[in-house]
Symmetry: C2
Subunit: 247 residues, 2 copies
């Protein structure tokens, strides 16, 4: 799995099919990933048809990968199947609450990431779409997700037609804490972000966005408080509508 | 990464150290995993001291792995570092909301799973502790996690001293949906759960719990509605206290 060291998100794909055999093999192998009580509280919806990609695209801000990738995979937190099993076996399921959402989202995300690791080792390229939780209701409507199912991750998948540069990472010390959490100080922040802030591509990013600092590009342009708060309300609404939170 | 095909959770570990070099190498490599805007909204707390393992154990229902494993890793959703960065760069961070929690939990879980896949390929054994979100406040207190940091996954890690049998999985058709979600019917539930229900170990599980069906073992004994609802309240309280949900 040393492919991890040269891993990049792939947004341009070759005109080459991802066979059903290969996809099913990778989705099956990824199922070895541990889940809560081995209940596999996830589902994955496979999108191959152009029509469905077109319908999904707006939920992902029309990022071109959604319509151009041969395959789009939507990973869902799913306690519906478990509940249906219980309902059919004289068992009283109680998986319509916040904890169960958290557990099912965890199962789905771990499964998704093993899938990505396996796919990339196979030479495939993936792009993880963070937009999945921005307007989940559009995805729910398009994929006809019933109660107790919420999309938590979307992957576009195909054979790479680009090799973008590796992106930067924080030093390990920035994310690792020994024994207890050591809170950040102005000095440690300077140290941990120095490399990121010094990179030419990030300086350019500040310049073209007319900002003073790289952090401002994120807070003022890419992930604003206003958007986050509006989308938090939308996410809460979806968790209520899909049955995971009661008023 | 074909080790995935023989992957099992490991709960018994050899008396053999996991070196700091190896651990740091794996934690660094796993950082290649994609995150939202490449912001790496996660932290990991490394527990090696016996005292801290003893203090963490009750939060994990005193499962013996916690005190016996050479290393315990607690992966946290973390928008605190990003917020500290913004605060020190004249930027107005807005990552104290539900969407930001979801994004940070996603980053942390994907990172955690790549770490597990890398560790297992190295011959290490892991056990993922689902208990992390059951009583998160105990973990927060023990590890001194500040506002905007919430534990979402715990891994016990060491060199395997057991080789338990592979556990069963649902057939791929049970979790995969083509183009749209096909809801479950009594017939499809029977088909998808037939193998799981027929396994001798699962039949034994039903017998020793004095239940009629395997599903009842989960709903009545392992993951009850009552416990889930109580722990949902606890989780909501923690999300409020750590700053991700406002009343």
């Amino acid at each position: 799995m040393k492919t991890i060291n040269t891993r990049r998100s792939i947004r341009r794909y070759a005109q080459r099919e991802v066979s059903e055999e290969l996809l099913n093999c990778l989705l099956s192998e990824a199922m070895r990933t541990q889940t809560m009580g081995n209940l596999q509280l996830y589902s994955v919806v496979v999108t191959r048809s152009d029509e469905m990609k077109q319908r999904l695209a707006p939920a992902h801000f029309n990022q071109p990968m959604v319509t151009q990738a041969p395959v789009v995979l939507t990973f869902c937190a799913d306690t519906r199947r478990m509940t249906a099993w219980a309902d059919n076996r004289q068992a009283n399921a109680g998986y319509d609450n916040l904890l169960s959402y958290q557990n099912a989202a965890t199962d789905a995300l771990l499964y998704c990431q093993t899938f990505c690791n396996l796919a990339e080792e196979e030479g495939l390229g993936c792009c993880f779409l963070g937009t999945t939780v921005y307007m989940p209701q559009m995805i729910i409507d398009t994929l006809q997700l019933p109660r107790l199912v919420v999309p938590v991750a979307t992957i576009t998948l195909g054979w790479p037609d680009e090799q973008p540069p590796l992106t930067d990472r924080l030093p390990l010390a920035a994310i690792m804490h020994n024994e207890t959490y050591k809170d950040y100080t102005p000095e440690s922040i300077d140290r941990f972000y120095a490399e990121k802030e010094s990179l030419p591509e990030n300086k350019e990013f500040v310049r073209i966005n007319n900002k003073q600092t790289l952090a401002q590009v994120f807070t003022d342009c890419r992930y604003t408080k206003k958007d986050n708060e509006a989308m938090s309300e939308g996410l809460m609404e979806v968790l209520k509508r899909q049955g995971f939170i009661n008023d």
